[in-house]
Amino acid sequence: MQNQALLNNLKALHAISPNQEWADLARMNLMATIAAEQVQAPAPFFSFSFSQFSAFTTGMRYAAMASFTLVMMMGGVVAASQNSLPGSPLYPVKLASESVQGVVRFGAQENTNLSTAIAKRRIAEVSQLASNKLSTEEAASLQVQLDEYNQLIAEVSDAENPEEAKTKVEEVEEKAIALGAVLGSATDSEGFAAGMKAAVEDRMATCSNESVKVSVAAALELGTTEGLVEANELSLRCDEAVVEEIPAPEAGGEEGEPAPVEGEPVVEESAPEEVAAPQE
């Protein structure tokens, strides 16, 4: 073969091209893997490999790869859900993926750490939703409560009994979820206020603790974001005996005394008891 003929043959090899079906599937696979890696530590993608399907026909190999891609695309959906907030269609996927994380962890401390991380995540979601949907002042009022949640988590995570700590952390998480649910379905401040009031009233409909009912009613009467947040917080404590220690709200406000519905005594008195409890 003459030099020129050899070079022509080499140039002709440029026409070799991959199967388009493979090229498209490989692109999807890569994107799904990348999406999954962005929420987890990099996984060894090529545990899946075409050569593992060498006994298959080409059609079967593409079918196997397509199935794998489908699974990976689901991974992509999970990945895409990780930045979602309450109210988003992908938010349930995010919660479900966190449940799966809980299933694959075993140690008590590890479980507590995971619960703590998840609870903080819930609180951060509420904070983000508040800044998206509420006025600066309203968001700041809500943030006071969120800061208390974070403080409580920090306190209980030091507890010696990890399972007890986990329970406390999950209680905080539930409260944050309740706030997130209201904020997630609201479009603005008015929607948030109406949603909060409805949620509180729903809880009060099944609450038999008269003291709590009175305190909640007083907090709602304030008509402010602080009042709503406080009413919400109190309504979640219906079963807690400590609430009974709250002074009757009728005495508040007009006499110049600190309004009992502010709820400070509740937090001050209940938190240390709750932290001390795990010693058993």
């Binding site: 073969m1 030099n3 020129q4 003929a5 050899l6 070079l7 022509n8 043959n9 080499l10 140039k11 002709a12 090899l13 440029h14 026409a15 070799i16 091209s17 991959p18 199967n19 493979w22 090229a23 490989a26 692109r27 696979n29 890569l30 994107m31 893997t33 990348i34 890696e37 990099p42 993608f45 090529f46 490999s49 075409f50 050569s51 399907f53 060498s54 190999r61």
Partner: protein
């Protein structure tokens, strides 16, 4: 540092996946292996580019990753090259029908050249592939192979001589 987005990656994949696949196929001789190695090359490229930002010459960069990916493959599986003859026949048939094939190319000779290429040492096959099949300039090849332009020219001369020997023409 400029960032490298997923859209940049898609563009990179769409621009170079065929060239990378061709390059790898002509080294390993089997379609499935070339497909796996192509995907692996792009995944490695993503991990690096998304962390360190884009590079000036992405094509040369991809060939460098492909070459190391190929070396890893050899370490795990040995250097045995078994050309997928069924693929070669159908591929050459498609090429013969393709408007992109040049008038001077003979399918029988193409098959012979392809087989001979897979038998060449890596450096020789790489430099021939990049220069004559992918039509890269000497400077781009130098960057991809991390050598000087002068070294690439010398290598190319030796590689062509070796290819002719494989073809029984020297």
């Amino acid at each position: 540092m400029p960032s490298f987005s997923q859209n940049d990656f898609i563009e990179l994949y769409d621009s170079y996946h065929a060239a990378l696949y061709r390059f790898l196929l002509l080294r390993v001789g089997r379609v499935e292996t070339a497909q796996d190695l192509t995907s692996e090359t792009f995944l490695k490229a993503w991990r690096s580019l998304s962390k360190n930002g884009p590079v000036a010459h992405p094509q040369a960069y991809l060939y460098r990753i492909a070459t190391t990916t190929l070396a890893d493959h050899y370490k795990k599986n040995g250097r045995e090259v078994s050309v997928d003859e069924e693929f070669l026949a159908s591929s050459l048939d498609n090429m013969a029908k393709s408007a992109t094939i040049n008038d001077f190319a003979d399918p029988v000779e193409l098959a012979r050249v392809s087989r001979a290429l897979t038998r060449l040492p890596d450096d020789y096959a790489v430099v021939i592939t990049l220069r004559y099949i992918e039509d890269l300039a000497h400077g781009e090849i130098a960057e991809a192979m991390e050598r000087s332009e002068g070294a690439v020219r010398v290598l190319l001369t030796r590689a062509l001589k070796a290819l002719k020997e494989e073809l029984g023409e020297v």
